[in-house]
């Protein structure tokens, strides 16, 4: 019935102790590893992993937070849409506090806009079915883990002829951003690969990083044993001088991924250039809705005037996202910029590096 807070196998202290011992034994040089998945950012901080690692193993947080990398224009557009009389705006909770140029969805809700938090795009579809006189707009954020779910919901809307539902897509794919980091000269010895993105995509998409840039990738699960095992595997690659793509999270990730989900994504979305906060434009990195499904594309069916984008001064979210700076190097961190009064998305988003750092400290405690 009632149990201790955690007792699962992948949190087994003994096993963790063994892996940490191996890490200490095997890592002789400094090694910089980057995770590119918000879920990993949170898990690493939640379990206090940085403090358990030897000093030569450095973990950096990359652009794994889809909220953080969504350009401010997206929020401004969402706000403009929410302000329309006949619109119910539905969103994942992650977006509600992200600051736009002059407002946020939370502030707009306080002013009376119909903005609802949902757990699934299917809930948004349900709201559309129940409110035929309204237009229900769902904000589609997320990488390859979430994009197929949005695609499937559009297919369902199409099949069920629910025409008052539409999606505003800010979906993106991971590999171009990871490559952009490599091209940017970022000093990483290996990537802790995104576990759930990879259940969809499979492992092949990271091969180019190992082949062209000498940066290995170990696709990791989210429990402490997973993360530590993946770190060990990356250390091993570095010590042997053999960058490659490996799957630690084999219980969920197959080398080919989920081909059905890939087909569904392909059916509904096409690749397009997209703007990433902190990176600028990255070619062929965003997912837009195909003409065939234009009826469910909020960009096509809704015409709104979006205010001019104004970026906040002093915010270095871009540098933090690229792993070039840590949150504590931002002069706004914990002073002007806190979860209650966020300046940039890295603080607002619960999985943003700044937010995780604010909540969980840096693990290497006093």
């Amino acid at each position: 019935m009632t149990k201790m807070l955690t007792t699962q196998t992948y949190r087994d202290k003994k096993k963790i102790g063994e892996i940490l011992e191996m890490i200490r034994k095997r890592s002789s040089k400094k090694i910089r590893l980057m995770e590119v998945c918000g879920g990993h950012t949170m898990a690493i901080h939640k379990f206090g992993i940085p403090g358990l690692l030897p000093k030569n193993v450095i973990l950096k947080s990359g652009p794994g937070c889809p909220v953080c990398v969504s350009d401010q224009k997206f929020i401004d557009r969402a706000i403009a849409i929410a302000r329309k009389e006949d619109v119910i705006l539905t969103t994942f909770g992650d977006l509600i506090r992200v600051p736009g140029s002059t407002s946020s969805l939370e502030k707009e809700r306080a002013k009376g806009c119909d903005i609802r938090i949902v757990y699934s795009s299917l809930d948004a579809l349900k709201i559309a079915r129940q409110n035929p006189e309204k237009r229900v707009v769902f904000l589609g954020i997320g990488f390859e883990t979430t994009a197929p779910t949005s695609a499937a919901t559009i297919l369902k809307a199409s099949k069920s002829k629910i025409d008052n539902f539409c999606l505003l897509s800010a979906h993106k794919i991971m590999p171009p951003a990871m490559e952009a980091l490599a091209f940017d000269g970022i000093r990483i010895d290996g990537f802790i690969g995104p576990g759930h993105v990879s259940t969809i995509t499979g492992s092949g998409i990271y091969q180019i990083l190992a082949d062209n840039h000498g940066i290995g990738c170990v696709i990791s699960g989210f429990e402490p044993v997973d993360i530590l095992q993946s770190i060990l595997m990356l250390i091993n690659q570095k010590e042997q001088g053999e960058p490659k793509v490996e799957i630690e999270y084999s219980r969920a990730v197959k080398p080919k991924g989920n081909e059905k989900a890939q087909r569904i994504m392909e059916e509904v979305f096409y690749l397009s250039d997209d703007c990433w906060r902190g990176f600028g434009d990255i070619p062929m990195s965003g997912l837009k809705i195909r003409k065939k499904y234009a009826r469910w594309d909020a960009e096509k069916v809704l015409h709104v005037t979006v205010e001019k984008t104004r970026y906040k001064k002093g915010c270095i979210c871009g540098e933090v996202l690229k792993g070039k700076k840590s949150p504590t190097e931002c002069r706004l961190f914990k002073s002007a910029c806190t979860p209650a009064t966020p300046i940039g998305a890295c603080m607002v988003s619960s999985e943003g590096a700044c937010h995780a750092h604010y909540l969980y400290g840096n693990g290497k405690l006093l």
Binding site: E18, T145, K156, H196, T199, E248, A252, K260, A261
Partner: protein
């Protein structure tokens, strides 16, 4: 980007399944997976099953560690 949890399929109707995450029951869509059946464990993300989880628990690291435990010379 990936808050997903493992869930056990209790029953299936059309393309929806009732699953249980340690006692919490919810409905998820099976649109993204093939050949799921009651008793299978699936990874659930925002109301969809993303993948059927396998029993395979042995990772390369595990194999690696079996050969090189801290006690081995």
């Amino acid at each position: 980007m990936c808050l997903s949890v493992p869930a056990k399929i209790l029953s299936i109707k059309d393309d929806m399944a009732e699953v249980s995450v340690n006692g919490v029951r919810l409905e998820v869509s099976l649109q993204l997976v093939d050949k799921a059946k009651p008793g299978d464990y699936v990874l659930v993300h925002t109301g969809y099953a993303l993948q059927i989880l396998s029993d395979e628990d042995v990772t390369l690291a595990n194999k690696f560690m079996e050969h090189e435990s801290p006690n081995s010379t």
